[in-house]
Symmetry: C2
Subunit: 193 residues, 2 copies
């Protein structure tokens, strides 16, 4: 696996300002359970061959909305296809990481890194791109609804029971909200976050 | 209907800094459709007699987690029951408002008001209470997972088909994320939000 700019677990990723103790409180706040983690493992196996189609689904929605497509556009007002392609590979890997990665210090650090890469602080830097420098938090949060809603059909495509799909989907939704919560740290002053 | 401190549509509610045009973009970003709004109307009828039980479910989880229960505690380190009771009535009404209120200027203004009432800017003020003055954004976002996950059994309690419950639940999840997105405005500087 060699995905450009994907630095999960590498030492160039700065330490998250969020502690493991705080992460535990956030897991509790989202009611994320051991059962959810087991469901996510199965979800990872189901989604493994489908990540290209998953990202295409999300990109299709983003591409249909000019106010979202804007964040992939270069100074020539055309989509920056090289940037899009590189981000896509990391986004595909993210889908699997949501399902499989243990919630440890490396995970915590990389969530903060992902948050930063959506903001003025680090957007474009990984790929040396020239697209708009900051994705507003409101679009990240609102689009979470899409990420959670549209994953369900993909979870049901490998013949699992309706109950199993339901369990995996519930776990996915909680876990994605946990991710987005951590990404929001890059947008909010420490005392308010 | 006379709920203390519930000022939806009243002129003392300041205008939201978010425009209706931006709201339209956020609805699109969450893929909130006309069909979702129809599902939510039905959900409102189903939830109408159950709001007390819904809030008790959420409060049960909050109460079991000291780091969340903390925000309802007075200077004597005991739960402020008067404050809890008043907030509960508004929270119950919120469940129905999620399902029924048109997404107009009054709606937009009240979402911002709700956001402010979770922060330093306005927490405690409505009820003249003395609980901690600010609920961190991270707990609002993480707890959204609970609000979305736990509503589903309530939607299935009136004999609707699995498909209908699924449709209502999808709509609920999108709509709640739209709300939380607007509440986050009170936490983030304008240029980053």
């Amino acid at each position: 696996m060699n995905i450009e700019g994907y630095s999960y677990g590498k030492k160039e990723v700065p330490k998250s300002p969020v502690t493991l103790e705080e992460l535990e409180r956030l897991k509790q706040s989202a009611s994320l359970t051991e059962e959810d983690l087991r469901h996510l493992k199965t979800a990872g196996d189901i989604l493994e061959g489908q990540t290209d189609a998953v990202i295409d689904t999300w990109r299709g929605i983003i591409g249909s909305l000019p106010h979202l497509a804007y964040y992939f556009v270069g100074p020539d007002e055309k989509p920056d296809n090289e940037y899009k392609a590189k981000v896509k590979e990391r986004f595909k890997q993210w889908v699997l990481d949501v399902c499989r990665r243990p919630l440890d210090q490396s995970w915590l650090d990389y969530q903060h890194e992902i948050g930063l890469r959506h903001t003025h602080q680090k957007k474009n830097r990984t790929d040396d791109a020239t697209t708009p420098p900051h994705i507003p938090l409101r679009y990240i949060l609102a689009f979470t609804a899409v990420v959670n809603d549209t994953i369900k059909p993909f979870l049901s495509r490998k013949g699992h029971s309706a109950d199993a799909v339901e369990g995996m989907h519930r776990a996915w939704c909680k876990m994605v909200l946990l991710h987005v919560t951590l990404w929001s740290r890059a947008y909010v002053v420490e005392t308010d976050w």
